[in-house]
Symmetry: C3
Subunit: 170 residues, 3 copies
Protein backbone atom coordinates (compact mmCIF):
# COMPACT_ATOMS: atom_id res chain seq x y z
CA UNK A 1 0.00 0.00 0.00
CA UNK A 2 1.39 3.37 -0.93
CA UNK A 3 0.50 6.83 0.07
CA UNK A 4 -1.54 7.29 -3.07
CA UNK A 5 -3.73 4.36 -2.18
CA UNK A 6 -4.91 6.00 1.02
CA UNK A 7 -8.42 7.27 0.73
CA UNK A 8 -9.10 10.82 1.75
CA UNK A 9 -11.44 11.45 4.60
CA UNK A 10 -11.93 15.07 3.72
CA UNK A 11 -10.03 17.48 1.51
CA UNK A 12 -10.80 20.53 3.59
CA UNK A 13 -12.33 21.12 6.98
CA UNK A 14 -15.91 22.23 7.23
CA UNK A 15 -16.26 25.76 8.42
CA UNK A 16 -19.14 26.52 10.74
CA UNK A 17 -20.67 29.73 9.47
CA UNK A 18 -22.08 30.73 12.81
CA UNK A 19 -22.60 29.31 16.27
CA UNK A 20 -25.25 26.68 16.88
CA UNK A 21 -27.24 26.18 20.08
CA UNK A 22 -29.36 23.35 21.41
CA UNK A 23 -29.75 20.61 23.98
CA UNK A 24 -26.78 18.33 24.48
CA UNK A 25 -26.77 14.81 23.03
CA UNK A 26 -24.36 12.09 24.20
CA UNK A 27 -23.90 8.61 22.80
CA UNK A 28 -21.26 5.96 23.42
CA UNK A 29 -20.07 2.61 22.18
CA UNK A 30 -17.05 0.35 22.38
CA UNK A 31 -14.81 -0.93 19.59
CA UNK A 32 -12.90 -4.20 19.96
CA UNK A 33 -9.77 -5.05 18.01
CA UNK A 34 -7.86 -8.32 17.82
CA UNK A 35 -4.15 -7.90 17.26
CA UNK A 36 -1.74 -10.55 15.97
CA UNK A 37 1.69 -8.92 16.39
CA UNK A 38 3.43 -7.66 19.53
CA UNK A 39 3.57 -4.15 18.04
CA UNK A 40 0.81 -3.42 15.56
CA UNK A 41 -0.91 -0.31 14.26
CA UNK A 42 -4.64 -0.55 13.59
CA UNK A 43 -6.50 2.08 11.57
CA UNK A 44 -9.65 2.95 13.53
CA UNK A 45 -10.85 5.70 11.19
CA UNK A 46 -13.52 3.70 9.35
CA UNK A 47 -15.10 2.49 12.57
CA UNK A 48 -15.06 6.00 14.01
CA UNK A 49 -16.67 7.58 10.97
CA UNK A 50 -19.38 4.89 11.03
CA UNK A 51 -20.06 5.56 14.71
CA UNK A 52 -20.24 9.32 14.10
CA UNK A 53 -22.57 8.86 11.12
CA UNK A 54 -24.96 6.74 13.23
CA UNK A 55 -24.87 8.89 16.35
CA UNK A 56 -26.91 11.80 15.10
CA UNK A 57 -24.65 14.52 16.47
CA UNK A 58 -24.17 17.39 14.03
CA UNK A 59 -21.58 19.52 15.88
CA UNK A 60 -19.50 18.30 18.80
CA UNK A 61 -16.57 16.18 19.87
CA UNK A 62 -15.67 12.49 19.76
CA UNK A 63 -13.56 10.99 22.53
CA UNK A 64 -11.60 7.83 21.67
CA UNK A 65 -10.26 6.15 24.81
CA UNK A 66 -8.07 3.04 24.99
CA UNK A 67 -9.01 1.09 28.12
CA UNK A 68 -5.51 -0.39 28.41
CA UNK A 69 -2.18 0.91 29.73
CA UNK A 70 -0.21 -0.74 26.89
CA UNK A 71 -2.43 0.25 23.94
CA UNK A 72 -2.17 3.82 22.66
CA UNK A 73 -4.27 6.01 20.35
CA UNK A 74 -2.70 8.63 18.10
CA UNK A 75 -2.85 10.44 14.76
CA UNK A 76 -0.74 9.67 11.72
CA UNK A 77 -0.89 8.68 8.10
CA UNK A 78 -1.71 5.15 6.96
CA UNK A 79 1.22 3.89 4.93
CA UNK A 80 3.03 0.56 5.28
CA UNK A 81 6.51 2.08 5.06
CA UNK A 82 5.76 4.79 7.62
CA UNK A 83 4.27 2.26 10.02
CA UNK A 84 7.51 0.29 9.88
CA UNK A 85 9.32 3.50 10.81
CA UNK A 86 6.93 4.17 13.71
CA UNK A 87 7.63 0.71 15.15
CA UNK A 88 11.36 1.24 14.66
CA UNK A 89 11.47 4.62 16.40
CA UNK A 90 9.46 3.28 19.36
CA UNK A 91 11.93 0.41 19.67
CA UNK A 92 14.84 2.85 19.48
CA UNK A 93 13.50 5.35 22.02
CA UNK A 94 12.48 2.67 24.56
CA UNK A 95 14.71 -0.40 24.54
CA UNK A 96 12.80 -3.61 25.30
CA UNK A 97 15.79 -5.51 26.72
CA UNK A 98 17.04 -3.01 29.30
CA UNK A 99 16.84 -4.20 32.91
CA UNK A 100 13.58 -2.38 33.65
CA UNK A 101 12.51 -2.82 37.28
CA UNK A 102 8.95 -3.65 36.18
CA UNK A 103 10.35 -6.78 34.50
CA UNK A 104 12.30 -7.93 37.57
CA UNK A 105 10.47 -10.71 39.47
CA UNK A 106 12.10 -9.51 42.72
CA UNK A 107 10.56 -6.04 42.27
CA UNK A 108 7.28 -6.75 40.51
CA UNK A 109 4.81 -9.62 40.41
CA UNK A 110 3.78 -8.55 36.93
CA UNK A 111 3.29 -11.68 34.83
CA UNK A 112 4.24 -9.95 31.57
CA UNK A 113 7.68 -8.43 31.09
CA UNK A 114 6.20 -5.45 29.32
CA UNK A 115 7.83 -2.35 30.78
CA UNK A 116 8.70 -1.23 27.26
CA UNK A 117 5.01 -1.36 26.29
CA UNK A 118 4.00 0.84 29.24
CA UNK A 119 6.72 3.38 28.43
CA UNK A 120 6.00 3.47 24.70
CA UNK A 121 2.27 3.94 25.28
CA UNK A 122 3.04 6.79 27.67
CA UNK A 123 4.87 8.64 24.88
CA UNK A 124 2.03 8.18 22.35
CA UNK A 125 -0.88 8.78 24.73
CA UNK A 126 -4.01 6.74 25.38
CA UNK A 127 -6.74 8.97 24.02
CA UNK A 128 -7.81 11.58 21.52
CA UNK A 129 -10.62 14.12 21.55
CA UNK A 130 -11.60 14.83 17.94
CA UNK A 131 -13.92 17.42 16.45
CA UNK A 132 -17.21 16.59 14.73
CA UNK A 133 -18.78 19.05 12.28
CA UNK A 134 -21.63 18.68 9.80
CA UNK A 135 -22.19 15.18 11.21
CA UNK A 136 -18.67 14.09 10.14
CA UNK A 137 -15.34 13.59 11.85
CA UNK A 138 -12.97 16.50 11.20
CA UNK A 139 -9.62 15.16 9.95
CA UNK A 140 -6.95 16.53 7.69
CA UNK A 141 -6.40 14.97 4.27
CA UNK A 142 -3.76 12.47 5.44
CA UNK A 143 -4.79 12.11 9.05
CA UNK A 144 -6.02 8.78 10.33
CA UNK A 145 -6.79 7.66 13.89
CA UNK A 146 -4.53 4.76 14.82
CA UNK A 147 -4.50 2.37 17.75
CA UNK A 148 -1.02 1.18 18.71
CA UNK A 149 -0.90 -2.32 20.14
CA UNK A 150 2.34 -2.39 22.10
CA UNK A 151 2.07 -5.72 23.93
CA UNK A 152 0.11 -8.01 21.62
CA UNK A 153 -1.30 -10.20 20.46
CA UNK A 154 -4.34 -9.28 22.55
CA UNK A 155 -7.97 -8.31 22.41
CA UNK A 156 -8.27 -4.58 23.00
CA UNK A 157 -11.30 -2.42 23.76
CA UNK A 158 -11.64 1.27 23.01
CA UNK A 159 -14.54 3.36 24.23
CA UNK A 160 -16.07 5.96 21.93
CA UNK A 161 -18.14 8.81 23.27
CA UNK A 162 -19.74 11.50 21.14
CA UNK A 163 -21.08 14.67 22.69
CA UNK A 164 -22.64 17.65 20.99
CA UNK A 165 -25.71 19.20 19.42
CA UNK A 166 -28.00 16.79 17.61
CA UNK A 167 -29.06 16.83 13.99
CA UNK A 168 -32.18 18.79 13.07
CA UNK A 169 -35.34 16.87 13.83
CA UNK A 170 -33.99 14.98 16.83
CA UNK B 1 3.46 -2.02 46.57
CA UNK B 2 2.94 -4.61 43.90
CA UNK B 3 0.65 -4.75 40.96
CA UNK B 4 -1.74 -7.01 42.83
CA UNK B 5 -2.17 -4.40 45.55
CA UNK B 6 -3.53 -1.87 43.09
CA UNK B 7 -7.23 -1.42 43.47
CA UNK B 8 -9.39 -1.64 40.39
CA UNK B 9 -11.38 1.37 39.35
CA UNK B 10 -13.64 -0.64 37.09
CA UNK B 11 -13.39 -4.09 35.56
CA UNK B 12 -15.27 -3.20 32.39
CA UNK B 13 -16.48 0.03 30.85
CA UNK B 14 -20.07 1.00 31.16
CA UNK B 15 -21.94 0.79 27.92
CA UNK B 16 -24.50 3.45 27.19
CA UNK B 17 -27.53 1.68 25.85
CA UNK B 18 -28.81 4.63 23.89
CA UNK B 19 -28.16 8.32 23.53
CA UNK B 20 -29.13 10.74 26.26
CA UNK B 21 -30.23 14.34 25.82
CA UNK B 22 -30.55 17.26 28.19
CA UNK B 23 -29.26 20.66 29.23
CA UNK B 24 -25.53 20.99 29.73
CA UNK B 25 -24.03 21.07 33.21
CA UNK B 26 -20.48 22.32 33.91
CA UNK B 27 -18.62 22.27 37.20
CA UNK B 28 -14.97 22.93 38.04
CA UNK B 29 -12.50 22.77 40.87
CA UNK B 30 -8.77 22.80 41.49
CA UNK B 31 -6.56 20.15 43.05
CA UNK B 32 -3.29 21.06 44.76
CA UNK B 33 -0.40 18.66 45.26
CA UNK B 34 2.81 19.12 47.25
CA UNK B 35 5.77 17.24 45.84
CA UNK B 36 8.95 16.35 47.70
CA UNK B 37 11.22 14.96 44.96
CA UNK B 38 12.53 16.60 41.80
CA UNK B 39 10.78 13.93 39.69
CA UNK B 40 7.74 12.42 41.33
CA UNK B 41 4.59 10.69 40.12
CA UNK B 42 1.37 11.44 42.00
CA UNK B 43 -1.74 9.32 41.56
CA UNK B 44 -4.66 11.73 41.07
CA UNK B 45 -7.30 9.07 40.46
CA UNK B 46 -8.91 9.12 43.92
CA UNK B 47 -9.30 12.88 43.88
CA UNK B 48 -10.76 12.79 40.36
CA UNK B 49 -13.31 10.08 41.18
CA UNK B 50 -14.36 12.06 44.28
CA UNK B 51 -14.81 15.20 42.19
CA UNK B 52 -16.84 13.31 39.58
CA UNK B 53 -19.02 11.69 42.24
CA UNK B 54 -19.82 15.10 43.77
CA UNK B 55 -20.37 16.95 40.50
CA UNK B 56 -23.71 15.45 39.54
CA UNK B 57 -22.86 14.83 35.89
CA UNK B 58 -24.10 11.45 34.63
CA UNK B 59 -22.63 11.38 31.09
CA UNK B 60 -19.89 13.69 29.89
CA UNK B 61 -16.19 14.45 29.98
CA UNK B 62 -13.67 15.46 32.63
CA UNK B 63 -10.77 17.71 31.70
CA UNK B 64 -7.67 17.54 33.91
CA UNK B 65 -5.31 20.43 33.23
CA UNK B 66 -1.90 21.06 34.80
CA UNK B 67 -1.39 24.80 35.17
CA UNK B 68 2.40 24.46 34.92
CA UNK B 69 4.84 24.00 32.04
CA UNK B 70 6.98 21.52 34.02
CA UNK B 71 4.21 19.35 35.50
CA UNK B 72 2.57 16.78 33.19
CA UNK B 73 -0.59 14.66 33.34
CA UNK B 74 -0.74 11.19 31.81
CA UNK B 75 -2.16 7.67 32.06
CA UNK B 76 -0.32 4.66 33.37
CA UNK B 77 -0.44 1.94 35.99
CA UNK B 78 0.40 2.59 39.63
CA UNK B 79 3.29 0.33 40.56
CA UNK B 80 6.49 1.30 42.40
CA UNK B 81 8.76 -0.62 40.02
CA UNK B 82 7.14 0.81 36.89
CA UNK B 83 7.34 4.34 38.26
CA UNK B 84 11.08 3.89 38.73
CA UNK B 85 11.24 2.87 35.06
CA UNK B 86 9.21 5.91 33.99
CA UNK B 87 11.66 8.24 35.77
CA UNK B 88 14.58 6.37 34.24
CA UNK B 89 13.29 6.56 30.68
CA UNK B 90 12.54 10.27 31.01
CA UNK B 91 16.10 10.83 32.24
CA UNK B 92 17.46 8.77 29.34
CA UNK B 93 15.40 10.45 26.60
CA UNK B 94 16.12 14.00 27.84
CA UNK B 95 19.50 14.43 29.49
CA UNK B 96 19.49 16.94 32.35
CA UNK B 97 23.16 17.87 32.09
CA UNK B 98 23.38 18.73 28.38
CA UNK B 99 24.23 22.36 27.63
CA UNK B 100 20.62 23.40 27.01
CA UNK B 101 20.34 27.06 25.95
CA UNK B 102 17.50 27.59 28.44
CA UNK B 103 20.01 26.88 31.24
CA UNK B 104 22.64 29.32 29.96
CA UNK B 105 22.59 32.62 31.89
CA UNK B 106 23.88 34.43 28.78
CA UNK B 107 20.83 33.25 26.79
CA UNK B 108 18.09 33.09 29.39
CA UNK B 109 17.26 34.90 32.59
CA UNK B 110 15.42 31.86 33.83
CA UNK B 111 16.22 31.39 37.51
CA UNK B 112 15.84 27.59 37.41
CA UNK B 113 18.06 25.46 35.17
CA UNK B 114 15.11 23.29 34.23
CA UNK B 115 15.23 22.83 30.46
CA UNK B 116 15.00 19.06 30.98
CA UNK B 117 11.74 19.50 32.90
CA UNK B 118 10.20 21.56 30.08
CA UNK B 119 11.24 18.98 27.48
CA UNK B 120 10.11 15.97 29.49
CA UNK B 121 6.70 17.51 30.20
CA UNK B 122 6.31 18.24 26.48
CA UNK B 123 6.68 14.52 25.74
CA UNK B 124 4.11 13.47 28.36
CA UNK B 125 1.59 16.24 27.78
CA UNK B 126 -0.07 18.63 30.22
CA UNK B 127 -3.69 17.52 30.11
CA UNK B 128 -6.19 14.71 29.64
CA UNK B 129 -9.84 14.71 28.65
CA UNK B 130 -11.48 11.65 30.19
CA UNK B 131 -14.92 10.15 29.71
CA UNK B 132 -17.59 10.07 32.42
CA UNK B 133 -20.43 7.55 32.23
CA UNK B 134 -23.03 6.48 34.76
CA UNK B 135 -21.70 9.21 37.03
CA UNK B 136 -18.25 7.55 37.14
CA UNK B 137 -14.88 8.11 35.52
CA UNK B 138 -14.28 5.65 32.65
CA UNK B 139 -10.89 3.98 33.11
CA UNK B 140 -9.51 0.61 32.15
CA UNK B 141 -8.73 -1.92 34.85
CA UNK B 142 -5.09 -0.85 35.33
CA UNK B 143 -5.36 2.76 34.21
CA UNK B 144 -4.67 5.54 36.69
CA UNK B 145 -4.36 9.29 36.10
CA UNK B 146 -0.91 10.44 37.13
CA UNK B 147 0.63 13.87 37.57
CA UNK B 148 4.34 13.99 36.80
CA UNK B 149 6.27 16.50 38.83
CA UNK B 150 9.38 17.16 36.75
CA UNK B 151 10.98 20.11 38.58
CA UNK B 152 10.07 19.66 42.24
CA UNK B 153 9.73 19.95 45.06
CA UNK B 154 6.92 22.40 44.39
CA UNK B 155 3.29 23.11 45.04
CA UNK B 156 1.29 22.31 41.90
CA UNK B 157 -2.27 23.14 40.91
CA UNK B 158 -4.41 21.20 38.47
CA UNK B 159 -7.79 22.43 37.27
CA UNK B 160 -10.64 19.95 36.91
CA UNK B 161 -13.64 20.72 34.72
CA UNK B 162 -16.57 18.37 34.21
CA UNK B 163 -19.05 18.96 31.42
CA UNK B 164 -22.05 16.86 30.43
CA UNK B 165 -25.64 15.93 31.13
CA UNK B 166 -26.70 16.02 34.75
CA UNK B 167 -28.12 13.25 36.86
CA UNK B 168 -31.89 12.80 36.85
CA UNK B 169 -33.62 15.25 39.16
CA UNK B 170 -31.18 18.08 38.66
CA UNK C 1 13.19 37.65 24.13
CA UNK C 2 13.65 36.51 27.68
CA UNK C 3 11.36 34.80 30.07
CA UNK C 4 10.60 38.11 31.75
CA UNK C 5 9.31 39.56 28.50
CA UNK C 6 6.61 36.94 28.21
CA UNK C 7 3.21 38.36 28.95
CA UNK C 8 1.08 36.57 31.46
CA UNK C 9 -2.26 35.20 30.34
CA UNK C 10 -3.52 34.71 33.85
CA UNK C 11 -1.84 34.62 37.23
CA UNK C 12 -4.28 32.18 38.77
CA UNK C 13 -7.06 30.00 37.41
CA UNK C 14 -10.62 31.10 37.79
CA UNK C 15 -12.53 29.00 40.24
CA UNK C 16 -16.13 28.21 39.39
CA UNK C 17 -18.06 28.73 42.59
CA UNK C 18 -20.86 26.37 41.62
CA UNK C 19 -22.09 24.44 38.63
CA UNK C 20 -23.74 26.22 35.72
CA UNK C 21 -26.48 24.80 33.48
CA UNK C 22 -27.86 25.84 30.12
CA UNK C 23 -28.23 25.03 26.44
CA UNK C 24 -25.07 24.09 24.61
CA UNK C 25 -23.36 26.58 22.28
CA UNK C 26 -20.79 25.54 19.65
CA UNK C 27 -18.73 27.75 17.40
CA UNK C 28 -15.77 27.02 15.14
CA UNK C 29 -13.18 28.71 12.98
CA UNK C 30 -9.87 27.99 11.31
CA UNK C 31 -6.48 29.63 11.86
CA UNK C 32 -3.86 29.66 9.11
CA UNK C 33 -0.15 30.05 9.72
CA UNK C 34 2.68 30.53 7.21
CA UNK C 35 5.97 29.06 8.32
CA UNK C 36 9.41 29.94 6.97
CA UNK C 37 11.70 27.36 8.61
CA UNK C 38 11.66 23.55 8.36
CA UNK C 39 11.15 23.33 12.13
CA UNK C 40 9.41 26.33 13.63
CA UNK C 41 7.36 27.00 16.74
CA UNK C 42 4.43 29.40 16.39
CA UNK C 43 2.68 30.87 19.42
CA UNK C 44 -1.08 30.49 18.81
CA UNK C 45 -2.17 31.86 22.19
CA UNK C 46 -3.16 35.34 21.04
CA UNK C 47 -5.31 34.00 18.21
CA UNK C 48 -6.97 31.50 20.54
CA UNK C 49 -7.78 34.08 23.20
CA UNK C 50 -9.26 36.35 20.51
CA UNK C 51 -11.41 33.50 19.22
CA UNK C 52 -12.61 32.64 22.72
CA UNK C 53 -13.41 36.28 23.49
CA UNK C 54 -15.53 36.56 20.33
CA UNK C 55 -17.31 33.23 20.67
CA UNK C 56 -19.59 34.08 23.55
CA UNK C 57 -19.02 30.86 25.51
CA UNK C 58 -18.68 31.47 29.25
CA UNK C 59 -17.80 27.98 30.51
CA UNK C 60 -16.66 25.14 28.27
CA UNK C 61 -13.78 23.70 26.28
CA UNK C 62 -11.74 24.78 23.26
CA UNK C 63 -10.40 22.14 20.88
CA UNK C 64 -7.35 23.09 18.81
CA UNK C 65 -6.76 20.62 15.98
CA UNK C 66 -3.89 20.60 13.49
CA UNK C 67 -5.19 19.32 10.15
CA UNK C 68 -1.76 17.99 9.17
CA UNK C 69 0.23 14.88 10.07
CA UNK C 70 3.51 16.82 10.28
CA UNK C 71 2.32 19.83 12.29
CA UNK C 72 1.83 19.35 16.04
CA UNK C 73 0.11 21.35 18.80
CA UNK C 74 1.43 21.39 22.35
CA UNK C 75 1.91 23.42 25.53
CA UNK C 76 5.11 25.10 26.62
CA UNK C 77 6.64 28.42 27.53
CA UNK C 78 7.51 31.05 24.93
CA UNK C 79 11.22 31.76 25.21
CA UNK C 80 13.78 31.90 22.40
CA UNK C 81 16.37 29.82 24.24
CA UNK C 82 13.88 27.14 25.22
CA UNK C 83 12.54 26.91 21.67
CA UNK C 84 16.07 26.22 20.44
CA UNK C 85 16.24 23.40 23.00
CA UNK C 86 12.88 21.99 21.84
CA UNK C 87 14.13 21.82 18.25
CA UNK C 88 17.38 20.25 19.40
CA UNK C 89 15.72 17.53 21.49
CA UNK C 90 13.35 16.64 18.64
CA UNK C 91 16.33 16.31 16.32
CA UNK C 92 18.13 14.15 18.87
CA UNK C 93 15.20 11.82 19.63
CA UNK C 94 14.28 11.30 15.96
CA UNK C 95 17.23 11.44 13.58
CA UNK C 96 16.38 12.96 10.19
CA UNK C 97 19.11 11.16 8.23
CA UNK C 98 18.41 7.55 9.29
CA UNK C 99 17.32 5.24 6.47
CA UNK C 100 13.61 5.52 7.27
CA UNK C 101 11.50 3.31 4.99
CA UNK C 102 9.08 6.20 4.37
CA UNK C 103 11.95 8.06 2.65
CA UNK C 104 12.92 5.13 0.40
CA UNK C 105 11.55 5.56 -3.16
CA UNK C 106 11.40 1.76 -3.51
CA UNK C 107 9.06 1.51 -0.51
CA UNK C 108 7.08 4.74 -0.68
CA UNK C 109 5.90 7.11 -3.38
CA UNK C 110 5.90 9.93 -0.90
CA UNK C 111 7.30 13.02 -2.62
CA UNK C 112 8.76 14.48 0.57
CA UNK C 113 11.42 12.64 2.56
CA UNK C 114 9.78 13.63 5.81
CA UNK C 115 9.64 10.50 7.98
CA UNK C 116 11.29 12.45 10.79
CA UNK C 117 8.48 15.03 10.69
CA UNK C 118 5.81 12.32 11.01
CA UNK C 119 7.62 10.72 13.94
CA UNK C 120 8.32 13.99 15.76
CA UNK C 121 4.70 15.14 15.42
CA UNK C 122 3.56 11.77 16.80
CA UNK C 123 5.56 12.42 19.98
CA UNK C 124 4.16 15.94 20.48
CA UNK C 125 0.56 15.23 19.47
CA UNK C 126 -1.72 16.96 16.99
CA UNK C 127 -4.36 18.50 19.24
CA UNK C 128 -5.26 19.98 22.60
CA UNK C 129 -8.54 20.34 24.42
CA UNK C 130 -8.32 23.39 26.69
CA UNK C 131 -10.65 24.69 29.35
CA UNK C 132 -12.62 27.94 29.06
CA UNK C 133 -13.92 29.68 32.19
CA UNK C 134 -15.36 33.13 32.74
CA UNK C 135 -15.19 33.60 28.97
CA UNK C 136 -11.40 33.19 28.99
CA UNK C 137 -8.93 30.46 28.13
CA UNK C 138 -7.60 28.74 31.25
CA UNK C 139 -3.79 28.64 31.12
CA UNK C 140 -1.10 28.64 33.75
CA UNK C 141 1.13 31.68 34.16
CA UNK C 142 3.84 30.46 31.75
CA UNK C 143 1.74 28.20 29.53
CA UNK C 144 1.32 29.06 25.88
CA UNK C 145 -0.28 27.03 23.07
CA UNK C 146 2.32 26.34 20.40
CA UNK C 147 2.07 24.90 16.90
CA UNK C 148 5.15 22.95 15.86
CA UNK C 149 5.90 23.11 12.15
CA UNK C 150 8.03 20.03 11.52
CA UNK C 151 8.23 19.97 7.72
CA UNK C 152 8.12 23.61 6.61
CA UNK C 153 8.06 26.03 5.12
CA UNK C 154 4.34 25.47 4.51
CA UNK C 155 0.91 26.94 4.97
CA UNK C 156 -0.81 25.21 7.85
CA UNK C 157 -4.44 25.20 8.98
CA UNK C 158 -5.69 24.56 12.48
CA UNK C 159 -9.36 24.16 13.33
CA UNK C 160 -10.71 25.73 16.50
CA UNK C 161 -13.96 24.57 18.06
CA UNK C 162 -15.46 26.00 21.23
CA UNK C 163 -18.24 24.20 23.04
CA UNK C 164 -19.98 25.13 26.26
CA UNK C 165 -22.58 27.27 27.98
CA UNK C 166 -23.09 30.72 26.52
CA UNK C 167 -22.74 34.06 28.18
CA UNK C 168 -25.79 35.49 29.91
CA UNK C 169 -28.14 37.15 27.46
CA UNK C 170 -27.43 34.89 24.51
Amino acid sequence: MTKRSTSTVRQAPLATASSVTGPMVIDADTVTIETVERIELVDLTGRLTAFVAAAGVREGVLSVWSLHTTCAVFINEVQRALHADIKRVLEEIVDRETDWMHNDPKESDCDRCNADAHLRAMLLGHSLTLQVSGGELVLGQWQRVLAAELDGPRTRTLRLQILGIGSAGR
